[in-house]
Chain length 310, copies 2
């Protein structure tokens, strides 16, 4: 908790299925935190201002404190579409391209997303860029490989304090599809307790190749031959998909990977990485607040420079 406790700005991570908000001081220390199930897909008829007011209206103080919003609120399905800025992109670039929502009684800034091209195919992120910059601040690093596991995992390269490239992996979504809708769902028990041995087995199996299209079927046959109990199949499959993601990634030896996300998930990834001999450091939601605080300070600087007659 901060020593000052003097609120300076409001940070909001507004995603597809939920909203998370914090009242922060100028050092990025959280004074108060709130959540809401009003993700952008739940907000009908463009009622974004109303939902924001319901959730953090008292913090906004009639517009005295600025509100910085990252995540899918800046997407085409969100409040107001902000551009995808091409990589490489710095923190300063993000701050400069912040989009202020017009015609509001408050100062609400939407953070743009990032895009990159790998060969002829584009890739995009929205919200993760703020978390990466936040983790960079927290670890006082200028370079690194950042992994944000989730429905769509993001692997992000940072060089010289700039995001130089990233890639999206549909790992969480593949896990959900396979465990809920595929042939494997017939025997797999999604409510079963976590089985670390089965998870390890899955990670190691995936690492041998030749690919998830084949290895996923092994969940079924191991069950059929009585070599993998139904209660262990969800953990095994989780190991397979995460192991498949890690298999595809060239990780330079000796590198430390920074993981950002929900503790239960980053723990699995840390475990899977350790099986490949890769060290990792984990960050939680504090990375978002640290990133938005960095943006807040950039904006203050820009405004200062604009006001400064020299």
């Amino acid at each position: 908790m901060a020593t000052t406790e003097s609120p300076a700005f409001i940070g909001v991570d507004w995603g597809t299925s939920s909203l998370r908000a914090a009242l922060l001081d100028a050092d990025g220390q959280v004074i108060e935190e709130r959540g809401s199930p009003q993700g952008i897909l739940q907000v009908g008829g463009g009622a974004f201002a109303a939902v924001l007011s319901q959730t953090v209206g008292d913090w906004l103080q009639g517009g005295r404190l600025p509100c910085l919003i990252s995540g899918m609120a800046g997407s085409r399905q969100g409040w107001l579409e902000t551009p995808y800025l091409p990589c490489p992109a710095s923190f300063e670039t993000l701050a400069k391209h912040l989009v202020w929502v017009p015609d509001l009684p408050w100062r609400v800034g939407l953070v743009p997303g990032l895009s990159v091209r790998s060969g002829s195919v584009p890739d995009v992120m929205r919200g993760e860029e703020v978390q990466v910059f936040g983790a960079l601040r927290l670890s006082q690093a200028q370079d690194g490989l950042f992994v944000l596991p989730g429905t769509h995992s993001k692997w992000t390269q940072v060089e010289n304090s700039r995001i130089t490239g990233f890639s999206t992996w549909m790992t969480g979504e593949f896990y959900a599809l396979l465990s809920q809708h595929s042939l494997l769902a017939r025997s797999l028990d999604p409510q079963a307790a976590w089985d670390p041995t089965a998870f390890e087995q899955g990670v190691l199996r995936a690492g041998q190749g030749p690919g998830l299209l084949h290895t996923a079927f092994g969940t079924r046959t191991l069950g059929l031959f009585g070599e993998l109990p139904a209660a262990a199949q969800a953990s095994y499959l989780s190991g397979l998909v995460i192991g498949e993601e890690l298999r595809g990634l060239p990780v330079p030896g000796g590198l430390q990977v920074q993981l950002i996300g929900a503790p239960a998930l980053t723990q699995r990834y840390a475990h899977a990485l350790s099986l490949r001999g890769i060290d990792s450091r984990r960050h939680g939601h504090e990375a978002t607040w640290s990133g938005l605080c960095g943006l807040y300070r950039q904006i203050q600087q820009i405004q200062q420079m604009t006001k400064d007659p020299t």
Copy 2:
């Protein structure tokens, strides 16, 4: 069509979601063919004999002609569980382990499946082994690589007229999951006309790696950036999943691959293989009848030997 037209046996390919039957002469020529939507999952309460009687009762001639059934009818969820025979397995092995259904007014033989171990993980097939042996007979070959595309594709190695190994790829199922239940389903039009250019693009993209978990997301981003119309996304995704399957497989140079399956599907695979410079030969449902005819002849031989007093 045969010159003899004298019915010798009945062949049935009884799968999960449908049944296909043929009245055949001793050379494996089809005299008549019938289909039914009564796959094993649709046959409730063990009414297999009743369904068989409804479908081909007139062919059975009170048991004068034998009926050979391959496919999932021999699985745990089917009529009667037949064993998985371990590889390597020959046609003769299959014939020797045919399971005759007891207490019937007809002679009904269920073909066993095959199993193999790749490392510590088992793999299985049921029905495809008959098609492979059938294609082997049709092509008068003793060796080869056979690919049976479908919900679960099977790659099968044959050496010296024996199936020495195989692997299952959940390619068709992944395509269905991604096109119907994933984020991609939001923009993809599954009813759109086939787009060979988008398919090729997908195959080539998959071939570059690093894996479907990543490349699948490109379907979404290409659409987002207006570089892949909604109508082309299903073909592109089909190219991605088939290309991913082919990427995982070490195909020796100069080899001809034999494809067995529905014409629309084997055509896609032939196209994808040709993009990798691999020649292929295609077989349709005749491979099943040829395989069951081979089995019929093996059984005749075995019975002959048993009767022979020498």
